[in-house]
Structures are given as structure tokens and as C-alpha cells.
């Protein structure tokens, strides 16, 4: 039996390009492969994705598997699982990494069960244990109250990684990788689902995940009008507004603004947390921020343990004064 070797990264595409998460995973995967002294491979699955193979190589892949088939245009469990089963059978990797995305979180567990191995979803960090050479999979558990490190005895060791947890390499266009075409070999009648429509969420201004400044509001904001005040700060700083779950559930902020374990993951340079306590759930979605600033009336609130700077007091008094001072400073 052939030996499992190397690291394989499932690359996703977005608007005809390699998705940012995929560049991140190739960067992280490169390091794991180097630590193992083995190859890094990428796999592109989709329809019309073959042209992206050089980009995957530029981001660090030694080999690129390409499965290009019209039946793979939309992600569907029943089409992607057999295709990935086939690619894994051919590539025989030790480690398989995907993004913690709508695709990865659906595909990884199902594929792991099919291949009789285990997966860890939503990892913050992956490393190779120097002794055992096993993949150490670190992920938040108990809603972010704790972290766990898992290993897998079987191959491939599968993990999904959260966005922004790994850093991409600077693309090197001179780096060439071997391209291996794999026939999807799908039977359309075995696909038991059909994607009827895809509806993108409407975003005004800068996308939350891409913003360098995020202003997050919590339950204490209390109303949609309150969130409008946070919007003003975000506008001044060319950032975006996020929220904890209660404001989204109450309709003060759109559902897409939710940051946390079950919402979006952000890692801005500056996260201004207003009237939010800093629950583990929420912090799971923003703990990668470079600097957190807390505005909260409760000096004991957990957010002050996470923040670099803080003001204790009523946000209704603090936010307007902060906004005015910002305008003054930014005008200079």
C-alpha cells in the first residue's frame, strides 16, 4: 500500500480568482509541508477553474490537482465528496486542509467519515508535532471558553482553518507547479440535491470581513438608532459595523453583521467594542484583532480583559464625544 505523504489544500475560487482563504491556506500549508519535508499540493474543484492552477503555484503549491467539470459549478455535497475522495485516493496526502467556509464545514466532516478518518473544524492553528510528526489541530471549544488540541491516528488528517488564521505568501509568478488533471467521473443522477438559486447578501460600504476598522455593538446599544451612531464612526474611519448576536436577533443590525462563533470572523487592525460584554462566543469572532478598544459601563466586563484601551462609562455619552473628537483629529 502506498504511503500517505504531503499536504493537500482545497482551494476555493471567488469571482474567477483564487479565494483569499485559499491563499492563506497555501501559506500555512507550505509551512506544514516544509516542516514535514514533504510536498504541498493544491486541488482546484469547480467549473472553469483550470486557469487558476498557476496562481495556486505562485502562492506556494508544488503540484496542482485540477478537477474541472460543469457538474461542479455549484458546491453540492453529493458532487464534491466523491470528487475529493478520488483526489485524496490519487494524491494520498498525510494532511488535508480546507477553509472553515460554507464549503469546508460541509465537505470536511462528510469526507472524513467516508474516508474513515477524523476532521477538526474551525482550527485557529495547525502545527506539526516535532516528535510524532502528527498534525496538531488547535481549535476553540466550549464556545471559545477553552481551546483543544486534537490529533488524528489515521490518514489523511483533515482540518478546516478559520479565515485570517494563516498568512499567505507573497505570490511568486516564477514558481511553477506540476498540473495534474483529474476526471470528475460524476454520475449526475447520483446528485440528490439541486441548487435553485444563490442570493448574495447586500452590503453597503466596506465588507465587514475586509474592513481594517470594525465598530462592534452589543446588547447595550439597544436600538437601530444606536447602531446608526456606530455607523458614523465606521464611516469616518472607513470601517464597517459589526454586532454581537442580540442586536442581530432584535433587528437593530443586519444578520450579516454578526461577529462570533456562529457569525463572521474579523481580524481588523482596530476593533472598537461598544456596549458589548465580550462573551466567549463573540470574542471567538474578533480575538484576532490587532487592537481592541472597549467602551462599556461595567468595569468588570470581560471585554476589558481583552482590550488594549478602554473607557468605562455610558456609551450614549462617550460615543458622540468620541465621534466629535475623531472628526477634529481627522480634519487636521
Amino acid at each position: 500500500m502506498a504511503e500517505n505523504k504531503g499536504v493537500l489544500v482545497l482551494c476555493e475560487t471567488k469571482d474567477g480568482k483564487l479565494a483569499s482563504i485559499s491563499a492563506e491556506l497555501l501559506g500555512g500549508g507550505r509551512k506544514l509541508a516544509d516542516d514535514l519535508g514533504q510536498e504541498l499540493s493544491a486541488v482546484l474543484v469547480g467549473s472553469g477553474v483550470a486557469d487558476l492552477a498557476p496562481e495556486a503555484s505562485a502562492y506556494g503549491a508544488d503540484k496542482v490537482y485540477v478537477v474541472d467539470d460543469p457538474l461542479l459549478k455549484d458546491y453540492q455535497t453529493d458532487s464534491y465528496v466523491p470528487v475529493m475522495e478520488k483526489v485524496v485516493g490519487q494524491a494520498m496526502p498525510q494532511v488535508l486542509i480546507m477553509g472553515q467556509t460554507s464549503i469546508g464545514r460541509d465537505l470536511a466532516p462528510r469526507l472524513a467519515f467516508r474516508l474513515n478518518t477524523a476532521a477538526a473544524l474551525g482550527c485557529l492553528e495547525l502545527a506539526i508535532d516535532p516528535q510524532s510528526k502528527k498534525l496538531l489541530q488547535t481549535k476553540p471549544v466550549y464556545g471559545g471558553n477553552a481551546q483543544a488540541v486534537f490529533t488524528t491516528e489515521s490518514f489523511p488528517q483533515i482540518a478546516t482553518v478559520r479565515p485570517k488564521a494563516m498568512a499567505p505568501l507573497a505570490p511568486d509568478q516564477s514558481r511553477k507547479g506540476e498540473v495534474i488533471k483529474v476526471d470528475a467521473g460524476l454520475d449526475a443522477s447520483a446528485i440528490r440535491t439541486k441548487v435553485l438559486e444563490k442570493v448574495p447578501e447586500e452590503v453597503a460600504g466596506i465588507k465587514l470581513e475586509d474592513a481594517e476598522v470594525v465598530v462592534g455593538g452589543g446588547r447595550g446599544i439597544g436600538s437601530a438608532e444606536g447602531f446608526a451612531q456606530l455607523e458614523e464612526i465606521a464611516r469616518l474611519l472607513k470601517g464597517a459595523v459589526g454586532a454581537t448576536r442580540p442586536p442581530c436577533d432584535n433587528g437593530w443590525a443586519p444578520a450579516g453583521a454578526q461577529i462570533g462563533l456562529t457569525g463572521k470572523i474579523v481580524a481588523p487592525d482596530l476593533y472598537i467594542a461598544v456596549a458589548l460584554s465580550g462573551s466567549s462566543q463573540h470574542m471567538s469572532g474578533c480575538s484576532g484583532s490587532k487592537a481592541i478598544v472597549a467602551i462599556n459601563k461595567d468595569p468588570e466586563a470581560n471585554i476589558f480583559r481583552e482590550a488594549r484601551f478602554g473607557v468605562v462609562g455610558d456609551w450614549k455619552k462617550i460615543v458622540p464625544a468620541f465621534t466629535e473628537k475623531l472628526k477634529e483629529l481627522l480634519a487636521k
Binding site: 460541509d106 470536511a108 471558553n145 491516528e153 482596530l270 473607557v311 462609562g313
Partner: protein
């Protein structure tokens, strides 16, 4: 419509963060004293999803829970919410299950139940946040699945599922029988009514032991794990927050803006 909803009893995730403690053995969490366990909130969304389908299309909802020391008053909650039956897979042999051993035992129980159109699970559970049992169960049972459902409509023997995606949502048509995991967008789980609570009090759950569902002892609980837990720890909080003061909140706010400018955070 015959529906099965997988639930479980967990440590209350809403318990104060300060009460969260890890056992010195370093591989499990100590249940906080004086805080009652709850039905996993993610699973409650799955119960709600099933009850919404029942409201619209009729049918029977069976809740299925795996664990040990399941407090009857807690795990009966789906019955109080409107489920028709409760089956408990209860034995210490199920302790320390991972996604594999959980999905395997649930699959064996579901095979014993026999008839079903839709199986519901939460998107993940609030304890280990693994997010795999639903998909794993579908794989073992050979069912099509849709994860992260926000809305479900049944028509012509198929389900139309609005699935949450990173970009927004997509609408997926899926043949029955199938497995669906529910996301919180499905809607707040309904409160049990007084009538529901009274009904649940009178109803005794069916209890199945490992032998009742014909499981292989090597595949359940800790023995059946595929994911080995090496370490469980609480991330260290830096706790070096600089509190910006001022004469009153307005001045403190202005000082904060100045400070952020000074450290080039703006």
C-alpha cells in the same frame, strides 16, 4: 412526515465565564456548581426546525438524545416544546464520545427507529463545537444532506432548504429522506407552553442501552474516538487594558480619540 431530531444535554453555555473550569486531568470541563445543565441551544434550533415543518405539513417528531446521567426534567424539553416522543440512548459507555462515536451510535438507533423522512441536527453543539455529527450521520446512513438551514419548505415529496452561505444564502432542493442541520436563522426556539410542560411530565422517555441498538462496543464512547484529545486549556487573557480617564465621560471619550491617534491606531 416522520422526523427525528438529535439533541443532547450540555453544561449551560450561558453560565458565567468565571465559572468555567477545566478538570486537573486536563481533558474535560468541570460542570459549574449550582448551574443546571441544559438542552444544547444549537439542538433547540433543530427541534424548532422540525416543529416548524410539523406545523406546516403535519407529522411526528421524535427527539433522540445520547449521553449518561441525563436529567429527565432537562431532556424532556423537546417534548414540552411539541415533540411527540423522546428516546434516550443512555449509558456511561457513551461518555467521552467524539463526532465519530456519537454519529455511529445515533445511526444505529435511527436504524432501529426505522421510518423517517427528515433527520435534524444542530449545526454543532455548544460543548465541543465539532460541527460534524450531522454530516457524519448522513454519511453512515447514506442520506443526502443540507447543512446550515435557515428555512425549510416541504412540497412534492422534496424539501426546499434555504442554506446559509458565506456570501448570503442559497436555496437547495433535496430529495427525502434526508438530513438537515439547522442554523440559528431558523428562528428562536419556541417556549414550552403550560400544556406542553404538563404533557411532557406525564410522558416517559424510551431508554435504549448499547445492547438495544446492537452497537459494537469498540465503536462507541471513548473507544470509538477517531479524534484524540491531546490538550484542553483556557487561553490566557493578557489583561493589560489601559483605562482612559477624564473629567466626565465626554472628556474621557475625547482623550481616547487622542490616545488612539498617538499610538497610530487611527
Amino acid at each position: 412526515m416522520n422526523m427525528i431530531v438529535c439533541i443532547k444535554q450540555v453544561i449551560d453555555p450561558e453560565a458565567p465565564p468565571a465559572s468555567f473550569k477545566i478538570d486537573p486531568s486536563g481533558n474535560k470541563v468541570v460542570p459549574p456548581a449550582g448551574v443546571s445543565p441544559v438542552v444544547d441551544p444549537y439542538a433547540e434550533y433543530a427541534v424548532e426546525a422540525a416543529l416548524k415543518v410539523k406545523d406546516a405539513s403535519g407529522g411526528k417528531v421524535t427527539a433522540l438524545s445520547l449521553g449518561s446521567n441525563q436529567l429527565r426534567d432537562i431532556v424532556k424539553k423537546p417534548l414540552a416544546m411539541g415533540a411527540d416522543e423522546l428516546i434516550l440512548l443512555e449509558d456511561e459507555a457513551f461518555d467521552e464520545s467524539d463526532s465519530w462515536s456519537t454519529a455511529y451510535a445515533l445511526a444505529m438507533a435511527i436504524k432501529k427507529i426505522g421510518e423517517y423522512d427528515i433527520i435534524f441536527c444542530g449545526r454543532e453543539a455548544s460543548d465541543w463545537n465539532a460541527g460534524q455529527v450531522g454530516s457524519g450521520l448522513a454519511e453512515i446512513l447514506g442520506l443526502p444532506s443540507v447543512t446550515l438551514a435557515e428555512k425549510i419548505d416541504i412540497a412534492d415529496g422534496k424539501a426546499k432548504v434555504q442554506r446559509k452561505t458565506d456570501e448570503g444564502y442559497e436555496v437547495v432542493e433535496i430529495s427525502l429522506p434526508c438530513l438537515i442541520t439547522a442554523s440559528n436563522e431558523i428562528g428562536e426556539p419556541r417556549y414550552p407552553t403550560i400544556k406542553g410542560i404538563m404533557g411532557a411530565k406525564k410522558k416517559e422517555p424510551v431508554v435504549w442501552k448499547p445492547a438495544d441498538i446492537g452497537v459494537d462496543a469498540a465503536q462507541i464512547g471513548a473507544a470509538g474516538r477517531r479524534a484524540k484529545l491531546q490538550k484542553l486549556f483556557q487561553p490566557v487573557r493578557e489583561g493589560k487594558c489601559e483605562i482612559i480617564e477624564g473629567e466626565g465621560p465626554e472628556e474621557a471619550a475625547a482623550n481616547l480619540a487622542v490616545k488612539l491617534r498617538e499610538v497610530k491606531a487611527l
